[in-house]
């Protein structure tokens, strides 16, 4: 019988502890007095690769914005390496952590600034297409849900071993569409997350 500690909801009030940055608009005093551990900008000065912007809206079963969700992402660097000892290949992007955290705003929108990840090895020696692991927490969720973000402009998606397992009519929910470039010519992608209902985002049992 499993002996792990069970999960509980993150609740509606995590922001001042986990995502204080950008929350000051909610505080009549101007800011919460707590420095963030990790934010929504994963770019480090030495990181090589294409800088990108990701944005999306999180909605519930009624299509209403979820304005109190926390989104965490985990990704490889531009060379497809993870900043973790389990991935023992050498890291050219020494300071790039590959982990980010964002909270949805009052419109249910989250965003990240990061580096486009490279392809990562998958099962049986096959290469996975560039992707980002996405984890969502919110009030009304008793445990986190995991999904993946793939990029619309990556030919590798067609042979990605994980996407191949997803029913074909649902695969589109995992692909971030290319949007108009940002102000500095930064490529932008849109990844909406529909937690329930019409065109529900695929979540993984992992």
């Amino acid at each position: 019988m499993s002996e792990i500690t069970p999960s509980q909801t993150v609740g509606p009030f995590f922001a001042y502890g986990l995502t204080p940055k950008g929350r000051c608009e909610w505080d009549p005093n101007g800011q919460y007095s707590w420095k963030e551990t990790v934010g929504d900008n994963l770019v480090t000065p030495d990181a090589s690769g294409q800088r990108i912007h990701i944005e999306g809206r999180v909605t519930d079963g009624d299509g209403k914005p979820i304005n109190d969700a926390m989104i965490e992402i985990w990704q490889a660097d531009a060379q497809g390496r993870y900043a973790n000892p389990r991935d023992n290949r050498a890291l050219p992007n020494a300071a790039f952590k590959g982990f980010g955290r964002s909270a949805t705003d009052k419109n249910g929108v989250y965003s990240f600034d990061t580096i486009k990840p490279g392809a990562v090895p998958g099962p049986n020696g096959k290469l996975q297409a560039p992707h980002i692991v996405v984890c969502i927490y919110s009030r009304g969720m008793l445990r986190q849900v995991y999904t993946r973000l793939y990029f619309a402009d990556e030919a590798g998606n067609a042979s990605d071993p994980i996407l191949a397992i997803v029913p074909a009519d649902r695969r589109g929910t995992l692909v971030a569409g290319k949007e108009k470039d940002g102000p500095n010519g930064t490529p932008a992608y849109r990844f909406d997350i529909r937690v329930q209902g019409d065109n529900e985002t695929v979540f993984f049992d992992i």
Binding site: M1, S2, E3, I4, T5, P6, S7, Q8, T9, G11, P12, F13, Y16, G17, L18, W26, Y32, S33, W34, T37, V38, D60, G61, D62, I66, D68, W74, Y82, A83, P85, R86, D87, K97, F99, V120, P121, G122, P123, Q128, H131, V133, C135, R139, G140, M141, L142, R143, Q144, I162, I165, V166, R170, V195, Q196, G197, E200, V202, F204, D205, I206
Partner: protein, 235 residues
Amino acid sequence: MPLVYPKESLSVFPKHLTPGYRSTVKRSPSKPLIVVPHTLSELTGPVYGHDAIQENDNDLTRQHKSEPLGERIIVHGHVLDEDKRPVPDVLVEIWQANACGRYVHIVDQHPAPLDPNFTGAGRTMTDKNGYYKFITVKPGAYPWGNHHNAWRPNHIHFSVFGHSFLSRLVTQMYFPGDYLFPFDPIFNSVTDEKARARMVATFDLENTVPEWALCFRWDIVLRGREATPLDTDKH
């Protein structure tokens, strides 16, 4: 030795849809979750160094001009994996209401006073032995709108990192003997009795500091265990 993360371990987690906790009704996936193998993406996770922590980040009573009102408590324990081995050097973050049950978050406007000397956020890293320690005040019970006269038992929110992104845990620590347990749908969303008990700290008289603070011990067990020869057949 690489760890594995069998899905069977998640059997003690609450279901996504628990109608007694009303907001799960519209925020739980309705379509089947897709089973996929664990790749490097799932088996790795963020690593934080001790430079992520500043002095007194773990002491919620020393972040303002004066100490907050409330019962000063020490909360400590070990972060362990499924084999009960320590998980060293991982980040633990907490947040909680003040002694009156009021959160500083602007969305909490219920009529309990704010404490000018309490924000309620803390973080620390586990040491080589997986040991962590916080100093805070006991949070009060908090009324919420789930059902008529609903109150959350006293609780501290915990966010814990483990060896991989899959071992990441967000949960709540409760206090022994809380009279609100039978009425709380969030606590009771965990249907296994032993698993519920694992969310409850134990009163630790031995580590109480005389004339200064009571102490509660709470160990946190994360996903991840050593592979056995049988496991290698599955991948």
